[in-house]
């Protein structure tokens, strides 16, 4: 692992700061050419407002480390929640968030789901499996809202995408 990669990999997500960009799976490439570094990131959602902050944080940290950095965007392949690393999933749970299950990969037309999305979500606080969906949309595009039926705490679930 190059030194520039190590610096870029340690930058955290502005909305879920317990995750590094590497653990979130948005850090796609770091190319080093002497002091020049080109970092490629991919958006989680098309309208993710955190992209500008990620870019600024990457440039800032790499500049501090003595590099001339630029950040590029990769649109393909589209980000999947499957790219969140095992360490990232543990960090989510440690901070009271529920990590995503496997992302759907439909072969053929995408089926309509009129029933609440069936997920095996366990409460990150008390590990109870008795949880209920409050809303498919949460405070950021990537999260749904849940509530634990045992400890009664609300919590956020990072959505499968």
């Amino acid at each position: 692992m190059s030194r520039a990669y190590a610096v870029a990999a340690s930058v955290t997500d502005p909305e879920m700061p317990m995750l590094t960009l590497e653990d979130l799976g948005v850090l796609r490439d770091v190319r080093e050419d002497g002091r020049r570094v080109t970092v490629t990131i991919t958006p989680t959602y098309s309208g993710c407002p955190a992209m500008a902050t990620m870019r600024d944080d990457l440039v800032h940290r790499l500049t501090e480390a003595g590099y001339a950095a630029q950040v590029e965007i990769a649109l393909s392949p589209a980000w999947s929640s499957d790219w969140i690393t095992e360490r990232g999933r543990q960090a989510l749970r440690d901070h009271g968030l529920s990590a995503p299950g496997a992302a759907p990969r439909p072969g053929g037309p995408i089926p309509l789901t009129l029933m609440p999305t069936a997920r095996a979500v366990t409460c990150p606080r008390c590990d109870s499996a008795r949880t209920e969906l409050t809303s498919e949309y949460g405070a950021t595009a990537c999260k749904a809202l849940y509530r634990c039926a045992d400890c009664l705490e609300p919590f956020e679930h990072v959505k499968e995408i």
């Binding site: 959602y45 309208g47 965007i73 649109l75 393909s76």
Partner: protein
């Protein structure tokens, strides 16, 4: 104790100075512009016509932009907090799609971008969003008509997301790799939008007499615009399969009303753009 308004021209500097970073253009167009396609190869494949590709991306982008704005009008007005947040998130997804598609259109054919005063810091996608007249927008009428009640919004979102999702599934293999990538990403978002709208459609249809009455009124009011929407997206039978599935489980008949004739836009778009564009147009250099 009185509170003194900060003076931006104070010789000791303003409390806002630190927020501007290296960008001297104030906040109208964000701080430190970023190109949503930075580093993306935007060369138009030789088998495609660049002007046609740009026009197509503009149409797809305008649909997303206009509906995003309509959905964002719900902010702080939705029936409950969860749906307020849901609609805002859906609006944000569509705004992101719009931004990418407008930037793609501009990169394919720079002549689509309106000319702005010299020194204007407005990026191309903002120039397209804020400095075109209603007549130059290529969106379908379905997305521009004014909001009604929540049931109207649910019906519109169901029709729109169903048609757009089916089209984006196809576009994910488009000959232009940039459009294909935008579509592949959009598919994941539109899947959530369609499910959200479909669930609320069912809930309102099978809810109270009043919720059902409102849903049917919204659907019937929008249906004359469905044919234009379907045509714009080259909708195939897969769209009818999904809609019929929702209608059947909701106990709702497909409306029997004639398509709206004519083309172009309704007055609703000009009114919406007047509000959406007023600040940008008052400050085309992003400074005041």
């Amino acid at each position: 104790m009185s509170h003194q308004t900060p003076d931006p021209n104070d010789e000791h500097g303003s409390v806002y100075d630190g927020l501007l970073g290296t960008d001297t253009s104030q906040w109208a167009f964000g701080t430190d512009f970023e190109d949503p396609l930075a580093g993306v190869d935007t060369t138009v494949p030789s088998e495609l016509d660049a002007a046609e590709l740009a026009a197509y991306c503009l149409a797809l982008g305008d649909d997303a932009l206009v509906l995003s704005h309509r959905l964002s009008e719900w902010c702080s007005n939705a029936p409950d907090l969860e749906d307020d947040i849901a609609l805002a998130n859906i609006a944000l997804d569509l705004l992101g799609q719009a931004r990418l598609l407008l930037a793609r259109a501009a990169a394919a054919d720079p002549s689509v971008v309106p000319t702005l005063p010299d020194g204007s810091p407005v990026p191309v996608e903002d120039a397209l969003a804020f400095f075109r007249e209603a007549v130059d927008f290529r969106n379908v009428r379905m997305v521009e008509v004014a909001n009604g009640d929540f049931a109207h919004t649910v019906a519109r979102l169901l029709l729109f997301a169903t048609v757009r999702l089916a089209a984006f599934e196809r576009l994910a293999t488009h000959a232009d790799p940039v459009l294909a990538a935008i579509a592949a990403k959009g598919v994941k978002e539109l899947t959530y939008h369609r499910d959200y709208a479909g669930r609320w459609f069912l809930t309102l249809a099978q809810g109270t007499e009043e919720s059902r009455r409102r849903l049917l009124a919204g659907l019937t009011g929008l249906w004359p615009l469905q044919a234009e929407l379907a045509r714009a997206y080259d909708a195939g039978p897969e769209v009818d399969v999904v809609l019929d599935q929702v209608f059947a489980v909701s106990g709702v008949e497909r409306p029997d009303v004639a398509p709206m004739t004519g083309r172009g836009h309704t007055e609703a778009l000009s009114r919406m753009l007047a509000e959406m564009q007023v600040v940008a147009r008052a400050h085309p250099r992003g400074q005041w």
